[in-house]
Subunit: 299 residues, 4 copies
């Protein structure tokens, strides 16, 4: 297995400077060019390249936020406030929210929906809410030293006018409860958690095997997997499903979290993105892994 | 002239409870049912009904904000940031702002555009900016006791999530400079200035005669008049122009400011609104005045 | 007066190759570069440049179609089917028609609205309908030799898939009665009528003076003038009103029809267009005429 | 197995009059209330209720059209003209097609996309194209007596103004080649093919087992399955995937075609629809079958 991963790294390393790093958060432009892959199966964890390198969680954390929101509030409450449909739009679209007949964000993986799930995390204080998410991450990643990237957090918070607009619109529609700035702060904090490819592989493994060890109901894990397939790769989700067919969630830091039901969790990283916001080499590595191992769920 | 105004008041007083008061600002629901009309010609001011009753300036103040913004920044700067086109949408639309090819608010009389013009008012402090607008109002209304309605101001500020969303979106697009909350506060403050029908008639008279006595360039007065005709009555502007043909600007408090170039300024008030947000009896009174005096500019 | 017109022609002739001719109808690309201006006042008709050159009527004919539709069906019927509001969109937009809450085209000067007014022209046969429009044109232009440009007509009909789509959508919404292809054919036929600057000046004069000599009710003439101001110059209408303030209707052939209420009709022509579809030198000539004579209705 | 199917029929038969039949095609309103289910596994075909009742193919035929279009033109050609993304809109949306930056229909299962795939079916004549689709259907359904429902075909063709509008818009964008009316006629003809639950189960079986017996490349079968999961149930696709997780394609006649990769094909029928256009009892029967047999692909 490790040979396959090595081969994939070696094949792609030459293209490591292809594409552009995320620019809307200034701090993300400074991330070094790295290339990592990690998988976790029932036989253990296998890695190659910069699999231990830490990068920010970004949109991949929407998976974690949704886990906690579902666990805290149940299916009905959560999905009365946020939909289950792919949007056909880019991740930070506002227009869809503004037509009179649109009453909730399309799904929990676009920003509007994720801000809403963040607002549903229970806790008597901001710190408690944050701790609960971090505790869950520590349980899943099996390490207790998860840190925040303060630079990215600050940069994101200070360049978040679009997310701020989304949040106030959600508030105006009566969907968002609580203090907008505090919720956004929590959201940015969680996005700035630092994770590695092996961490993502652990999370993917939990999803792949419906592992309830950290307290998340297996029905919720199945729901999340499905949403990853239909909405996990921004407005490339449909094509990714057709070409690769593996439930995945990408983030603008350049990571992608994938899970193959019953078989494995996968984490890849490379910071340069295509125009839809997905890691160019990340997508390619998952594609090649699929070709090697036949992982497409649409057999 | 006063007989005509009396006749109009008497004809409409029976319908004073027709329609609904603005509901999006709770405080506006408490305004009493009043009916007033005032006109100012070169021969003086004529009034009937509750012409002296004070109500909040609301969207009619967008005329004043645009005056100051133009005077402070010039035509090019202002209209590089906000357009001159009717939007075809309701006053608080966001979706139009969000398509990639839309680079600025359609015009200065929709909320997005007016928040932007408010942000262009010059002054070394919040207080100075506010004073400059109030000073201009005092010059035009020829009285020095213009007050704010604190209840409406507070109510509006606390229910302003849609405007807040608009402002952050403008900031994200690089159009809005300065502190969002301070700009919104200034905007709400100006909207909560208390005016009467006779005040509106004075403002309409200034526009009708291109009166530069308060320091506003007559070219700007002409521009504002034109925008009142094309965009002054929300998404009823086109029909109002066809039916009545008098440059006008309405506000959700139930006032309407009108001007007949070369002839007169008009102010009307009645707090109940139609579904587009215009005063039902206000529109009707202007229509009847037009029938009596032939004021349509499209002769 | 003729000296002023000559001066305007001489000033602009050097820029006659500025911009691009309309490309969506192939035949329009072959129109030669010409420059003409004509005005008709109570003192007669004055012209300069290629004022007698014949070009196709295009969107300026929407004014004529609306006249006939109003005369045949009355205000209520016509404006129950088509709105009176500027759209804020380009002339051939479909999206606005497709939202569930949009029940009719925004106004009679966008394509969807004009196709609808064409469908309202009464007549026992296609030929009779066409004759009635042509007869009205002959009455207004005071000549009986109005021809069609067959090349443009054929070219337009064969490249009309967008208009065809609009028409079928109007039919699906129950707004359009009758045979779609026949209505489109009538619409294209009227658009291909050949007119000159002096013809446009005559039409503008009729509007300017509410002249009922050809049987059009003066109330309808006033309505049309108003719509020309608010919606006559595509999505440049608002800015044109602010800068020039003369009710006008342009066409992609490069002509512009204008009227100054109580003073004059104006016709200009130059085939190269700006990006919004208005004649570059046409707009400029009206602007200069306004500067010379002070024609802005917002005095 | 048959006991399970009988149980499902018996459980639902009492609600057979719940909901409304499709109304946009008048002829569909006359379909009798029926309830049928059929599955085909490697062990044979099992049925209950009105599994042999014939109804029209409608949108389920989009699966067949896409098969032929892919086989005739290859992946690249087809998906250069039509996308692979869920649209987030209803099946017959136009607005998405009309924004300047949208260059192709979102996917082959919305009407715009399906009309386009119909246009890609090769053949030297209309009859040959139709025969090729029918031949494929006969091979898959293993019967040679597939008929058309002339009443539905005629009704659909005569009430197709929205589809006609879509087709002309596709033509204007240069995506649709050939004669619009002929393509629409072919599209309506294929939609009016009469199929039964057992036919759908056969088609689902072919997809489930990548059966190339009728000449369709197995890669295309996999692609189609994926699109059925992400886009097969109109704007309920995302929720259906989360709740049931079985690739499916529904039609307004009340049928649903499903396939469980590696396990079985499923066909259900009941003509009354929910507000999104899916068969109410059809969805319920698949849900119950899933509960009985555990068919969700997101294990």
């Amino acid at each position: 297995m490790e040979r396959i991963l090595e081969k994939i790294i070696n094949k792609n390393i030459k293209d490591i400077t292809l594409g552009e790093k995320a620019s809307y958060i200034p701090e993300l432009k400074n991330v070094p060019d790295k290339l990592g892959i990690s998988i976790m199966t029932s036989e253990g964890t296998f890695s190659a390249g910069d699999a231990g390198y830490r990068f920010t969680f970004q949109s991949m954390s929407k998976v974690l936020m949704l886990m906690v929101a579902l666990q805290d509030n149940g299916y009905d409450y959560v999905f009365n406030h946020v939909g289950l449909e792919p949007s056909g739009d880019s991740f930070n679209s506002i227009s869809k929210l503004d037509f009179n007949n649109v009453i909730k964000p399309y799904n929990p993986f676009i920003n509007a929906g994720a801000i809403l799930t963040a607002s549903m995390i229970r806790g008597s204080s901001y710190d408690e809410k944050l701790s609960r998410v971090r505790d869950l991450a520590e349980c899943i990643f099996m390490r207790r030293d998860i840190g925040f990237n303060d630079g990215v957090y600050t940069s994101e918070r200070d360049n978040a006018n679009r997310n701020r607009a989304l949040a106030y619109l959600l508030k105006e529609k009566g969907l968002l409860k609580g203090n907008v700035e505090e919720i956004l702060d929590l959201y940015f904090r969680i996005c700035s958690l630092e994770v590695s490819c092996t961490d993502l592989a652990s999370l993917g493994h939990l999803l792949a095997f419906n592992d309830e060890k950290c307290g998340i109901d297996m029905n919720y894990l199945r729901i999340i997997k499905t949403l990853m397939l239909t909405c996990g790769m921004y407005d490339y989700s449909g094509e990714f499903a057709v070409k690769i067919g593996i439930p995945s969630k990408s983030g603008v830091s350049g990571g992608i979290l994938s899970c193959v039901p019953g078989r494995m969790g996968i984490g890849v990283f490379s910071p340069r993105l295509d125009e839809k916001g997905n890691s160019i080499l990340g997508v390619r590595m998952i594609e090649e892994l699929n070709e090697e191992l036949g992982l497409n769920i649409f057999v």
